[in-house]
Symmetry: C2
Subunit: 274 residues, 2 copies
Amino acid sequence: MKAADLFQQIQKKQSYLCLGLDPEKSKLPVHLLSTEDPIFEFNKAIIDATADSVVALKPNLAFYEAEGLAGWQSLDRTVVYCRENYPDLFLIADAKRGDIGNTARKYADAFFTAFPFDAITLSPYMGRDSIQPFLDYPDKWAIVLGLTSNSGSADFQLQELANGDLLFEKVMSEVGGYGSTDSLMFVVGATRADYIRRVRELVPEHFLLVPGVGAQGGSLDEVSALGLNKQGGLLVNSSRGIIYASQGADFAEAAQREALNLQRQMKALLERYC
Amino acid sequence: MKAADLFQQIQKKQSYLCLGLDPEKSKLPVHLLSTEDPIFEFNKAIIDATADSVVALKPNLAFYEAEGLAGWQSLDRTVVYCRENYPDLFLIADAKRGDIGNTARKYADAFFTAFPFDAITLSPYMGRDSIQPFLDYPDKWAIVLGLTSNSGSADFQLQELANGDLLFEKVMSEVGGYGSTDSLMFVVGATRADYIRRVRELVPEHFLLVPGVGAQGGSLDEVSALGLNKQGGLLVNSSRGIIYASQGADFAEAAQREALNLQRQMKALLERYC
């Protein structure tokens, strides 16, 4: 999928919503726990209920890895189910991998071939050869951490360099040169909307993946005003606010309602800014 | 396992060798390819042949993830086999994970509970809350990337901060305060022995995990002279130089020979510096 294809989906669905599929067994509706694969059954119901309102799905792999082999089985079933039933959904492995060149190629094989994702999130700490192998796959994406939404982001990402830049600014301007706007996005946390303006100066054309709206406190209006561009340029993630809108038997309907609510807000924001 | 237990193993085996178990199907001896789980059979033979000479095993997860579900099955069998047959081996998941606090807790569950590793490698880019959850597990370890051995390490890790420190120096002195010498190690690449002296100023007591000796060109003598301390303080990793010493039917014997050769060098270095 290229940037233009992703923008086409955004226009078609009038949405730039990315759904974070981060299931925890302890939070699943009880009636699913007796099924053979509760996490897959949960994901399947959530995806069916929200697919009209979302353009991207982002399983965070920690939630699957925590279940051991069974978790990887649930992830595999989820990805295959999406590919077969919703081929236009943009599938992001939120894996935050990052390793030396020959090992990075193995991670690219893992998430672009063994598991057919469209994109993977990456940590930039190890530099260019930890990112480049992912950019060499046609129509696949590397989504590199720029400025994250957690409290620890201040520890290193906001450190000032000798030339006056903050570390995340150096990362984004440097990594921005590794790939094109058809292969590279950045993660920018919504809880720091004041920085999104600066990010748009550094990478005006690249898509941004923005977590932190909703449970983490970011403002959709503010992020959209600063982040949207003429090619869309924005995916806003929501996870807990949608998938746990209800933990009862009506969890899928509640998730649908929440996703639709966000999609309607996004429709208005697209008309205004895009 | 605490630092003193690890040092006891180092003294017992007269070795601080960490074996990188990074199997690639295309490089396995052909006679293994017809077995049900070639990667596990390869690992098992390598482990049996080298267990007397090594104190730690470090599977890099990329090589397993690249094989999809089957790879995770191979990893699971390998870890269970080690736990049952070599309970004193220190097992490191070379995963380089790093995510926000509640997600980091899931990764800790994954690698300390679902898969019973002793330690996991972590990327520091997201700061304290991405590391702390791993330090809260008793007798488990976080091994945080300081200065890595790849070409891209210069891109960000060697950036100079406004206060004159290099980024990796800031990372190591900051993260060094998060945990004790019983819960926290650092990755320091052997290809930059000139920096190991500086690292020992920053974290004189912590264990260092040093990749890059052998295939990547680092010198064992130099690293040991600078890195060993009175509590051992050093794990030196070798992967390809041991596991692919031969790709024929004698691969396990060849691996044993290489591991033993390194162990003998380490014995002499321990007598000299420790």
